[in-house]
Point group: C2
Chain length 375, copies 2
Amino acid sequence: MGSSPSNTANTTEEKVVSNGVNHTAPIATKGLAVDSASSPFKVFDFERRVPKPDDVFIRIHYCGICHSDIHQVKNEWHTSKYPMVPGHEITGVVEQVGSNVRKFRIGDHVGVGCMVDSCLHCNSCKKNFEQHCPDIAFTYSSTELDKVTPTYGGYSNFITVKEHFVCKVPKNLPLDAAAPLLCAGITTYSPLRQHNVGKNTRMGVIGLGGLGHMAVKFGVAMGAHVTVISTSESKRDDATKLGAKAFLVSKDAEQLKGAENSFDFIIDTVSAQHDVAAMINLLAFQGVYCMVGAPPKPAEIPSFVLLFKRPIITGSLIGGMKETQEMLDFCGKHEITCEIEKIEATPEQINVAYDRTLKSDVKYRFVIDILNAFK
Amino acid sequence: MGSSPSNTANTTEEKVVSNGVNHTAPIATKGLAVDSASSPFKVFDFERRVPKPDDVFIRIHYCGICHSDIHQVKNEWHTSKYPMVPGHEITGVVEQVGSNVRKFRIGDHVGVGCMVDSCLHCNSCKKNFEQHCPDIAFTYSSTELDKVTPTYGGYSNFITVKEHFVCKVPKNLPLDAAAPLLCAGITTYSPLRQHNVGKNTRMGVIGLGGLGHMAVKFGVAMGAHVTVISTSESKRDDATKLGAKAFLVSKDAEQLKGAENSFDFIIDTVSAQHDVAAMINLLAFQGVYCMVGAPPKPAEIPSFVLLFKRPIITGSLIGGMKETQEMLDFCGKHEITCEIEKIEATPEQINVAYDRTLKSDVKYRFVIDILNAFK
């Protein structure tokens, strides 16, 4: 279980953590937490468990800021548990492994996403959709399977996670830009795979934010002909740089009219209320429309569109562990990471990042530098 | 091209038409027509074309009354063409065939549904979805492919139809109860086949009318566990008689709660406005919800249901010619026909039937006796 000589880290910062540790008592951990929906972030001291036989102990290097962190910090989904250490776009390096762990070695680059445990025997788990397990333990603002022990997320310097819920991050990917792959990445990769996006698929991506820009990258890498559909003409250049072949302004009725019936697959990444029926009109006969955002009000879908277009209207929620690993391997092969802005792990910088995220003023994801924090 | 001795008709009424004819001039035809959205039905004299090489000339025996006949007679879809001879649930017997016709012989029992021609070379036609061809010629209130010649439907004693759009009706099925198979039958059979309903599929049928009762029969014959979901407790006995194993009253919140997440496939046959979101809640993870009715207002579908259930929300419109023939063969094998009330081909009886159809006061389809009309 010592560090492997072949596991040479590819940056200075990663070398410091490649020698392994041997914790036998709970591990003192520092995080950034809020105590209530209206509290500011503060440094929070807590403990991570000693790795059990099937656990991996990880030194967190980076954690992305997902829009859902903000919803949960503010208790907008009415399920928040405090104190809350948010964060479910986690990358880091393995420092210790339990005696039964086979997939990971000390020094491995790893990622942890939105969940840290599930029952592993229900129908959803057996189908590799652990994210739909009724007993799921989310990475934070949740509890372990005992329904008592709180879970704390990735705005912290260590985490202990069951091996099944840890993914390998290919060593050619920088850990900072890879962090958002664990949520924004899998959320957009999964529906493309589930609906067989491939060479020459006429694919539309609605919204060019954290999710949308990843959908464009994946679609392009899979060989699709990608069109970005945005409310704002200002995103055209960025769409092109990301590899999109076409751009539609969704507020321009004429452009929409010209694009009717022209997409085999549309991924809708927009969480703000918008006219879904107008977007479904863009689908070709038997096309697929997949929502990954969650607008507050229901989508209004005319029945005649369902009858005459025979579309598949569906949605998708992150992805299972097997698919998340497949996504990371795909990213390694195609050298895909997120476009990020890195910030320091301070309450002040997180506040600024949250404000800018709410204004969609980020290209395209904030990532917190945890490795250099709490010193 | 003479009648075949083996084509002995199985009822007295069918014997009279088994000897064939040899029309060489347009055929005087009688129908029941309306002249405008507010006109009463009247007897209407017109001509059918002499069969071209790929045409089949049919003596119509029966024609079902579809709810959409009423919409079109009253111009509720704003596309009606007058004078209008409605009717697209047609059964009859072949009296003459064109020189290139290979599939049909004089005396064959045949059916004609909602369409009488299409381009046969577009993507939809090539995929056997002729009903989605942009150049489709509907059976009535439409024009032939020349975009000029009006089409007249099955409330008439003869029809000349291109071979491709004629189906064989198995001889073990009575032609009266088989007539609605050409619309109500294929409308419900197609989505079950497209979505692989089969042994032990947990299938829900919303609405027990002309469409719903056929969906139940098909589902039962395919081995599904069928539940009828109806606003009215009064339909329970009929559902059971048709083979349904369970019954849910859709206005009973407690019953709906108990049935959440329990269906693999739901076919929604209701054209009146109803709460689609409440019905989608009944779907199991990754279940299929297929609408075949067309309520006037859009269905409201919450995005979180799409994300957490990963359902397929879709629709279906009749079926292509290949599938319509498959459906009729399936009906022959399983001895499936519609439950009907037969009426005479008079304006008075059609008026009564329309009024009762609008009140859902029919079990389950009116069929007009054309064979004994116009004498």
